[in-house]
């Protein structure tokens, strides 16, 4: 299961539309979630509309959050997205089995529902999960990055407790020059240890190329799975996940 978690505090202003990029990601089986950080002042009408649209196109959800609730918000979204991805796949199967076009888990009588949800819970806990955190590091986000980093560490702690393999990677955007849409801060990892700061290669630039950054992360996802990172066990698991995802992607 693949997710992008975009954390931003404003509007994109350079390059391809982030909504379009999110729609493309969804077609590749990657769900896009967006957190809008609203600590100092507001995020603006335009920003909040864009955040909603990116999430909708990316098949995920969007939330506004202050830095204090950031960790909780990110974890809730990740967990819900995992459950929903599996739920979609299960609903699809149910429709095939029952031969009705609009059957969902919610429509089953309580006893049957109970068994189906047990399966969903089990799959949510054990399926392999890959999350790329894509952080907007434009000037206005700078004072919030410490909180973002803390939230990432906290999230890894929660994901690490899952029974399935969970790994995250961290990117920020924009890069140092106009050709560099997103910079990798951390490659796939299953645990975050050490006090070393995640964000070290930051450069001040005003631009917010959200769309191009999403496209760049998609490339990373593609490379990650095609080139066979990690153990064979991991690959087998992610293959299974893809088969399931393929079902529900529209």
């Amino acid at each position: 299961m693949k997710q992008i978690m975009l954390i931003t505090d404003g509007c994109s202003n350079v390059g391809e539309s982030p909504v379009m990029a999110a729609a493309l990601a969804r077609q590749e089986g990657i769900t896009v979630n967006v957190v809008g950080i609203v600590d100092y002042g507001t995020i603006g009408e335009l920003g909040s509309v864009e955040i909603e649209e990116i999430a909708r196109a990316g098949g995920g959800m969007s939330r506004m959050s202050g830095t204090r609730q950031l960790a909780q918000t990110m974890q809730m979204m990740t967990r819900k997205t995992v459950v929903q991805t599996i739920q979609h796949a299960v609903n699809k199967e149910l429709r095939q089995i029952l031969g009705q076009t609009d059957t969902a888990v919610e429509d089953l009588p309580p006893d049957t529902r109970s068994q189906v949800v047990e399966v969903i819970d089990e799959l949510s806990e054990t399926s392999a999960l890959e999350v790329v955190l894509l952080i907007d590091a434009s000037a206005s986000m700078r004072p919030k990055l410490a909180a973002v980093e803390e939230a990432i560490r906290d999230m890894m702690l929660s994901l690490g407790a899952r029974q399935g393999t969970s790994r995250i990677a961290v990117f920020h955007f924009p890069g140092a020059h106009s050709g560099e849409e997103a910079v990798m801060d951390m490659d796939w990892t299953t645990e975050l240890t050490g006090a070393r700061s995640i964000f070290q290669k930051l450069t001040m630039r005003g631009a917010t190329p959200t769309g191009p950054a999403i496209l760049k992360v998609m490339e990373f996802f593609r490379y990650g799975t095609l080139e066979g990172h990690g153990s064979s066990n991991w690959l087998k698991e992610s293959d299974r996940g893809e088969g399931m995802l393929g079902d529900y992607v529209v």
Partner: protein, 312 residues
């Protein structure tokens, strides 16, 4: 998709189950958990009072119900818990403005949240309530579950100090990941261990609950530190230095370190703590300074009296 919109049920609303047709009249709001809203309801047939939880999300509520069912099965099998009424009464859906809201009906426990209870009855009731709470956790742990989101709000206490855990939304099977937690009571928040569901996770939360109830100020200060420097040592320091916590010191240290053999051991240690040395200390502390002084004075007077009576 998720039904995230909140709804309010007015007093007197009749909730009719879609599948089983049970009818319940809403009496008043009891509270709100992460997964749904709880109302006090009256069953129209038997006029009995129950608590009814209406869920925000069908899946989340159903996982909670599954846990309740599993816990109930082990409770009925087990000898330890001999409660007369079953916890879970009915599970159904309610059609509200064209939308299906899942709900379940459970036993209604008359009582107060732990903090209010202690405020009314006095802090020493923590001894009783704490023991009951640990025994509840023990039943849960021995059945293979961890409670997860243990906090004062999730503990209801009856006037006699009996404890009922409410909100099973955070319960996870041992070995899985903790689903719900609250900052202060979370082991991960204090950099003191993983978020894996296991008995020691609940011991830790229980210890922080005790610290919160008896030494809120120091806990607040410790929680406000930079996240990287926060550690269980901060909590141990409070336990060792705060006077209000001194009766529980040894127990809390074991709990924060996760050093009990199992929850039975934790129960026994707590019992020993609140019964054994407590009485001894009371006796020794019963002799105040003025009494010693008065006794010495009376001895002197007696001496003088004897001396004088012998002299003349």
């Amino acid at each position: 998709m998720t039904t995230s919109s909140k709804w309010n049920l007015a007093q007197g609303t009749v909730v009719t189950g879609r599948w089983k047709g049970g009818k319940y009249v809403v009496q008043r709001l009891l509270g709100q958990g992460a997964n749904g809203i709880v109302y006090l309801v009256k069953h129209t047939g038997s006029a009995r009072l129950y608590a009814m939880k209406l869920g925000f999300d069908t899946l989340d509520l159903q996982s909670e119900i599954n846990v309740l069912k599993a816990v109930q099965r082990t409770r009925l099998r087990g000898l330890g818990e001999n409660r007369n009424a079953p916890y879970l009464v009915e599970v159904d859906d309610y059609t509200h403005h064209g939308r299906e809201i899942p709900f379940y009906v459970m036993r209604y426990v008359k009582g107060e949240a732990l903090r209010t209870f202690l405020a009314h009855k006095g802090g020493q009731w923590l001894h009783v309530a704490g023991l009951h709470l640990l025994q509840q956790l023990r039943t849960l742990h021995e059945a293979g579950w961890a409670f997860g989101d243990l906090k004062p709000e999730n503990v209801m206490v009856s006037p006699s100090g009996e404890v009922e855990l409410i909100d099973y939304g955070g319960v996870s099977a041992v070995g899985k990941s903790i689903k719900q937690y609250t900052e202060w009571y979370d082991r991960g928040f204090w950099n003191a261990g993983s978020r894996t569901a296991e008995p020691s996770y609940d011991w830790f939360s229980f210890a922080v609950v005790c610290i919160h109830l008896l030494a809120e100020g120091p806990l607040k200060r410790a929680a406000q530190q930079l996240p990287q420097t926060r550690s269980s040592n901060d909590l141990l320091l409070i336990v060792q230095s705060d006077e209000a916590l001194s009766p529980f010191r040894s127990w809390l240290e074991l709990a924060l370190r996760g050093d009990f053999r199992d929850t039975l051991h934790a129960c026994q240690a707590w019992k020993k703590l609140v019964t054994g040395p407590y009485i001894a200390r009371r006796v020794s502390a019963k002799t105040p300074g003025w009494m010693v002084g008065a006794f010495a004075l009376s001895l002197t007077l007696l001496g003088c009296a004897i001396y004088l009576s012998l002299r003349f």
